[in-house]
Symmetry: C2
Amino acid sequence: VNYLLFEDPDIKKILEHYRIIWALGHAGSLMSWDMETYMPEEGVQERALASREISLLSQKLLLDEKFVELVEKASVKENLNEYERGVVRVLERRIRIYKKLPPELVGELAKTRVEAQNVWKNARAKNDFSMFKPYLEKAFELARKVAEYLEYDDEPYDALIDLYEEDMRTKMVVQMFDSIIPELKKALDKVLNEENSLYPRTHPLEERKYVREEIEKLNRRILDTLGFPWSRGRLDVSPHPFTDDLGIKDVRITTRYEGFDFKRTVYATIHEFGHALYELQVDERFMATPLAGGVSLGIHESQSRFWENIIGRTMAFVKILSKLIEEASPSLGKIGIEELYSYVNTVKPSLIRVEADELTYNFHILLRFNLERMLLNKEINVDELPEYWNNMMDEYLGIKPKTFSEGVLQDIHWSGIMIGYFPTYSLGNVIAAQIRHYLQKDLGELSEVIMEEKLKLIKEWLKEKIHKYGSLYKPQELLEKSFGEPMNPEYFKEYINEKFVAKKIV
Amino acid sequence: VNYLLFEDPDIKKILEHYRIIWALGHAGSLMSWDMETYMPEEGVQERALASREISLLSQKLLLDEKFVELVEKASVKENLNEYERGVVRVLERRIRIYKKLPPELVGELAKTRVEAQNVWKNARAKNDFSMFKPYLEKAFELARKVAEYLEYDDEPYDALIDLYEEDMRTKMVVQMFDSIIPELKKALDKVLNEENSLYPRTHPLEERKYVREEIEKLNRRILDTLGFPWSRGRLDVSPHPFTDDLGIKDVRITTRYEGFDFKRTVYATIHEFGHALYELQVDERFMATPLAGGVSLGIHESQSRFWENIIGRTMAFVKILSKLIEEASPSLGKIGIEELYSYVNTVKPSLIRVEADELTYNFHILLRFNLERMLLNKEINVDELPEYWNNMMDEYLGIKPKTFSEGVLQDIHWSGIMIGYFPTYSLGNVIAAQIRHYLQKDLGELSEVIMEEKLKLIKEWLKEKIHKYGSLYKPQELLEKSFGEPMNPEYFKEYINEKFVAKKIV
C-alpha cells in the first residue's frame, strides 16, 4: 500500500495499524451483504457468532492502547496536512464512541442484529408482530443503553442520531421538519384536490404485472445508461434494497422484484445507484484508510435521492427511461412519455415508506422519528407501538395499516438496531434539493443536462463537489466548503413548490 | 456457545480464544467463495489486501503467547477426554506449523495467492503461459521457502504434503503409486484394446449441446435426490468447481457449465456433493472449535470420489440419473440405461485432469506429483515446465497438449500456491475403494443399496464411520479406528480389476 497523501510518520503508523481494522470492516461488509442475498437459511447461527467475534475484535483493535496513544499524539500535532487531519478526526470520533461502549454491549449488538434480522424477515412474511416483539424490545433496550453510555445533550436520541450524522442533534431535526412539513402539507392538499392532475393518485400501470426477466434487463440497462461500472459492482436481489461498499472498487447494490408496478424496482435501483456512485467516486488514494467511504447517512441519502427524484422523476429522464423500457420489455409495450411521467410521479398517501412519493415521504420519516423518540424516552412501550403507529399514520396521511407487515414490521432498520437512522432520509431529501440548486448554477437548467450523453457531466460535478472527499470533512463542513452554506431547507421547499404547486418544472 | 463435550477449564479457555480465529476463518472462507463466484473483477485489489491482513492477524492470534502457553499446558494434562485431546492435537499442529513460518511469509503467501489466481484466470482464458510464468515462479519459490522453514525428512515435498495430509510422506505416496500404477496401466491397455467395450473411448453424447437451464435444473434435482440440505448450502457457478465450508451449517458447492457433454457438470456436482456431505455431517457439537471440518484432503477426496465414482458411475445410480434427466431435460430426450452407463464410463487418455476417467485419472496426478518434486528440487525450472509436462503426458498416456490451457495452465492449484496438494486426489481414490469394501461388508452389495430410498443408509453409515469425527483423529488413525487398518491400496486394485478387467461389477 502506498499512502501518497500521507507523510507524517505517526499518521503512517496509524494507517498501518488501521489496515487490519479496515480489513475486518471489509469482511464484515461482505458477511452482511451475503446474509441478505445468498446465505443459506441455517447459516445464520454460525454467521451470528462470527459477526459478533469480528465486531468485538475490531473494537478491541480500535481501542488498542498504543493505537489510541498514536491518535492522541497526532491530534495535537500542528503541521499535519488536511488529509492527515481528516484521518485523525475520523479515528478520534470512532475511538470516542467505542471507548464509551463496553465490549460486551458491542458484542451483544452485533449478535442481536443478526438474530433479529432473521426473525424480522419471517415475522414480516407471516404478518406476526408478536414474533418480532421481544427482539424489538431488546433493540430499543440496547439502543437506550448505547445512548446512556455515549451521553447526550437533551435526550437519548441526540446520542443516537450523532452516530449516523456527525454533529446532528434532535432539535435541528425538529427544526428541519418544522420548516418543511407545513409546505409539504400545503402542496399535498393542493395536488390531492386537483382534477386531472399531472400527479394523479393512482395510475393504471401500478397494477400491471411484468415479466421479471424483462425488468431485470431493464434495471441493468438503466445502470448501463447511468454508467454503473460493472467491473466494480453488482446488482443483486434482497428483501430490502441496499448498497454495500466493500471498498472503493467493489460496491454492490440490490433491488427487489414484486412482479407488478415496475416503477418500484426501477426507482429502487436508481436510488441505490446514487448511493453506490458516491462510494465509487471517492478519491482512490483514500483506499483502506479511515477516509474511504461516504461521510454520513444524510449526505449519502442526498445522493440516492438526487438520482432517484431530482434526476429520475423529471420529464427529461422519463424520456430516456421510456426508450429503455421499449428495448428491454416488449411485454410492457410502448408507454407514452406523459403517461410514464404521471406514473412515476403519482402522489398518494400510502402505507409503505419505500413506495412513498416526494410529497408524502417525509411524513413517514416524521412518524418514525417521533415514535423512536417516544420509545426511547419510555413515553410509550413496544406493546403500544402498533396502535401509535396506526393513529399517527391516520393523523399525518389520513390512512391506517390493516396488517403489521404494512405497518410497524415494514422496515429493516429496527431489526438492525439502527435507531436514530430514519431522520437522515429527510436530511437527504433536503440536501438533494440544495445540491440541485448549486448544480444548476454551474451546469445550467437540469432539463438541458439530463441527456444520455451529458450524464457524465453531472457525475463529474458530484465527484468534485461531494464524492471525492469521502469522509475528509464533517457533513456540514462539506456543504459549507462546496456550496458556501450548511444544510438549508429553503431549496427543498422551493423545489416542492416549483414542481407541485407552481408547476414551473417538470 | 455451549461446549457440551469440553469440561476441562483450560480447554474451555482455549476454545474461547479460538473462537475469534474460527470467526476469521469463516470470514476468509466467505471471501474466497465470493472471489470465485460473485466478486466484481476490480474488487481483487482490495480483496487481496484484506485477505492478507486477516491471514496475518489469524496467525498472530494463533501464536499469541498466552494462547500457546495454554495449549502447551493442556498438552501434558493426563485427564483430558478424547475430544479435549483432539482439540490439543489440532492446535499443537497448527501452532507448530505457523511458529515455523515468519509472519511476512504468511502475508506474502496470502497476497500472492489472490493476485496469482486472478492472473491465472486470465492467462488460462488467453492461453498465455508467459503471463502466468512469473507468478508460477513466485509460487514455487514461496513453497520452497515454506518447506525450508517447516523442515523435512527426505526432501522439501515431505513438508508440503504434510500440510494437506497429516503424517503423509513423499515415499509413502511413491509406494502407493508404485502399487496402483502398473495395475491401472494393465487395465487401461485391456480396455483400450477391446472392441465394442462397455467402456468406449468416446461416446456420441459427449458432443451433444445442452440447454443450460435444463442442466442447472438437473443438477439441482440430483442434489435433491442425494439429499443435499438446501437450507444449509448452495450450488453456484465458478471456473473450477469447489466446496467451501463456512461452517457445519453453511457449506457451498460450485459447478461449471461448458454447454455440451453434460456428464462433466453432473459429475462435478456429485463430486462436490461428496465433499459437502462430509462437512455437513460433522458432529454439531464441534461447531466453532478446531475439530469442526474434515481432517485432511485425502479423506475429503475419498468422500467426493466415493460419490462421484463408487456410487455415481454404477449401473444402479445411472438408472436414477436417467429418470432425472428425463424429468429435467426434455431437449436431451430419453437416453437408454446402457447408453448412459457407457457415456459416464468412457475410458480415454485425455489432457484435462478433471475430465479424466477412473483408469487415467491417477496418471494425471502422478505427472503433477513428479513435476512438483522436480521443480521444488530445482531439477527443472519453470521455463522448462511446459516441455516436461507435455513429454510426461506422452509417456504416461500417449498424448500431448497443443495449448497451455489444456496443459500446464489447466489447474487452479499452483496459482493458489497449493503445492503438495495433488497426491491427495490419488489418496482419495484409493481410500474411496477401501470405504466401498467396508461399506459392502456392513450394508451388502452396493448395487442393492444404491436406490433412491436407501441412499440415506449410505449417508448415515458414512456419518458414523467418517464424517461425525471431523478432525478428531489423524487421517490414518481414523481409518484404523473405523476399519481396523490404515490406507490400503489393495481394495482400489481389486475394484479396478473387478470393474474394468473381470467386469464382475457394473
